[in-house]
Assembly symmetry: D2
Homo-oligomer: 289 residues x 4
């Protein structure tokens, strides 16, 4: 019987890169970058699988070394720029490689405030939120996706869930006033043909600002409703002119009002139990035009 | 500017179901099933997103209830069978639903041995390994994928990595004898048109047996080489007759020989440091014919 | 042979409490509290262990219910105050109970900024850092410990490690300039006899401010050296007048400079690999007087 | 104001050691050991804290190197033996060291079965369970504690919880037949004065066997009741002659029967939801005599 290798890829995951740039500005402040990278290659690697021929297999250890060497030569402000440089370098590393995909997740640090001012070289991790990017490059094309993940938000007003269908298995009560909490993941694809010229940093900040503001202000009838409003607001914002498509994923981190009636008390929508599982998961993709 | 909703799905994740069947066999032994389910629906849900109209939104809480009610009515041995029944039920729950996808992960328990015999109603969790299945159903088609994940294995002989290309950034030494460890994830798709008739349990056990035996015995020149051999052995086995395609993912959990020369000692390939990150990740898909 | 029960305790762990207070201030802003609690009882429970006599065993489910009922009756700003009220209530719940210990961990949320102002009812999780407290109460005494954990900080200057002893197994190089990163855990015990009168909130903020400022500014010769300086600064601060003892634990999250010499490059202390394990762990307790 | 350093310790945590012994037996089978170690030192380290004087601070990196060098020189079957050798070596490493504490956790691997026989050099991780040991050594004394952790077990019969007190906040129903699941942690201290002569491996296996058998067979009125029976059975077993004291911790991993009455169905104690939090936590210490 014949067996065919119909797809394959390989790479190095969870490469941890931290860089410090000293004297990067007049106040002699250090600039800190903290990034986790996944490198994935596709290409002509069949001989390695079927015959154990390693002559075309760039070692994943070499990929890791390439990341560190490039980081020394190529200081960066925006992870998208580093991804662009890295895909460029790796695509040339071996003729068997047909495409390179780099996933980057930046762990965010804020300067510690001392004596009312940001400290030049002391930092505090700003949370679980990560700025993300994916750069995919073939010889002819390059694509940049930016994003964020694990941005945990909650609203305690302007969230309802009513009017859903009721069948034999429906016990959920309608509510005009519930807590709405999620760990937002968003990714958006840039539409400009010339990726070398995109102001990645300002655009990322603006998209994030619009997402947060819309989440906060929206009069939500469901997670779906708010998710769509958030994506729509991004595409209609100034930053959205450069965004072709945005994907949003919002797990519904349920907060259940505690039934206090057994204790002769009323819960005026003030006391909740946060539940880790199960959770609703709502996803959608919105596109301009 | 126009905004289009180009894709969406929603559902309930991490539904935890445990069932006990009593007196299921002559020895009055209890049968225990422990499963985590993700339910995903696709369909005509645009009004919920764009207008906050919930009339077509089956509540994710109702999906959860449906799981438990069905489990009471429909005791099962194989998670594939439960996935088939559940997709069938949910597809009929609301006319807006176009397709249902159920992911199931079974946590495995073994009977505790007491007095040299398996205990009728006491169990020990058998490890981190999970048996998995995905059932996807539209009105016209149903597809079943089986699998396993987090099957952690290591071989301490018959693993080499030599002959790979060396460039400016290559520092990895060639080795004819290394440790090879991974947390295997495998998924395979059944080819029979009539899914109601597949002996899911015996097939799963046989695929797993072939994967383990091939991993153990293979003379490995790389992870790629062994991954392919494992997939090929499955497709060529008796179980493979029912398998159309198999996907394997093998993270390379590196074990690095410790350099003892600074202490005036030699490491005869006996002392290693296990490293959690970074790790190589090798993936491929093999198909019959 | 005689067997003696020499110690025992039981309780409920990971009780998740979220409360919302509406209209708590003139701007009609909502106040959000998000706390995880562990409840532990000690007392005369031997009959439950040795004879299966449950007449003195307050169900852990009842403990959980008590948390939620009390939260509805007793809105709080500071977790220490809620711990004081809860220990008081539980100590009276059953005559078998001799002492109650409540551990509280507050997950911190910040208001989302929209239109340049903090939003009245939308929040962003402020990070992994948690504010902690432990309240322990017997009929005659009550003790309050406050703290914080998982406050992740890094300094990129003013950190050295030199002059340590070198033996046969020492390969670590001396360095006058390294990165110093940690996930700080601190707990401090209040010395006032009347715990009902302590301004827990302002004291917590002030201790945290002193810890961060000292970490940032200290000229560190080792983790031990900086840890001591941080504890000393707290005890010598204004907040320290109310603090009898402080314990600090600082895991050393190593950031290793990457050796770029194989690539013909020099690492000017700019490129590092962050390593999750192993890690140094430094702990100490400092006391006034 | 005077500040006093009242306690301190430091060390290296999460040192990952994997060793392979080749030709360890007639069948040329490899022996695999996979251990995580924490090293803690106490001693005269005040100058490091208060003055930044590192002359007495054995680097934690040196501790790690010592682990690997000793593992090469001192192959071991039982982690207790390696802990004894390591504490001995480290206590002599520097005169400032007054005591050494080593915590060891062994990750267990089983041989893969191929062709009906255990494979000589291929292994499967046996689960989340870990064999543990703590060795503490001062110049005059040494103490060995053995144990296990994360041994996940469940019984589906012979478990009740009835007769507990009911107060205003009690809503839990009494039950004569519930699921009882836990992740057992046990530690026991050996009583022999001469620790060099204890058959650690057989004793560990026997204690584990007694714990499992008692859990399985016990007619449980509560977690407390079963925990005590398990500890008592160990102390009264043959292995118990060498055990002075045993501590057990049993989190109650609640499995809640699903209320099916809203769906017009009855739950005959067959369908449960597994809940991760909150959980009861029961702990006790039993001693001989």
């Amino acid at each position: 019987m014949a067996v065919t290798l119909t797809g394959n890829s390989y790479g190095k995951s969870e490469v941890r890169l931290v860089t410090v740039r000293r004297g990067a500005d007049p106040a002699d402040r250090h600039a800190l970058k903290d990034v986790t990278l996944n490198v994935r290659l596709e290409g002509d690697f069949a001989a390695a699988y079927t015959q154990g021929d390693n002559r075309g297999v760039l070692a994943t250890d070499t990929m890791k070394n390439t990341v560190y060497a490039l980081a020394a030569e190529h200081p960066f402000d925006d992870i998208e720029d580093f991804g662009l440089a890295l895909t460029d370098q790796l695509l040339q590393a071996d003729p068997h490689i047909a495409s390179v995909r780099i996933e980057l997740a930046e762990h965010l640090w804020e300067r510690i405030e001392t004596a009312g001012a940001p400290h030049p070289h002391a930092f505090r991790r700003a949370g679980t939120e990560r700025r993300t990017a994916v750069v995919t490059r073939c010889p002819d094309t390059v694509r940049v996706t930016a994003g964020l993940e694990d941005l945990v938000v909650m609203k305690t007003a302007k969230s309802a869930f009513e009017g859903f269908p009721r069948d034999l298995y429906t016990t959920l009560k309608e509510t005009a006033d519930r807590l709405l909490a999620t760990a937002l993941r968003a990714t958006w694809r840039y539409s400009r043909p010339d990726v070398s010229n995109i102001p990645f940093g300002p655009l990322w900040s603006e998209v994030r600002r619009v997402l947060l503001a819309t989440f906060a202000d929206h009069d939500s009838r469901s997670v779906q409703h708010t998710l769509y409003a958030m994506g729509e607001a991004v595409l209609e914002s100034i930053a959205g002119r450069d965004v072709e498509e945005i994907r949003l994923a919002m797990p519904n981190r349920h907060h259940i009002p505690v039934d206090l009636t057994p204790f002769g008390m009323e819960n005026r929508n003030e006391v909740f139990v946060a539940t880790p599982e199960p959770y609703g998961l709502i996803e959608a993709t919105l596109r301009r035009g």
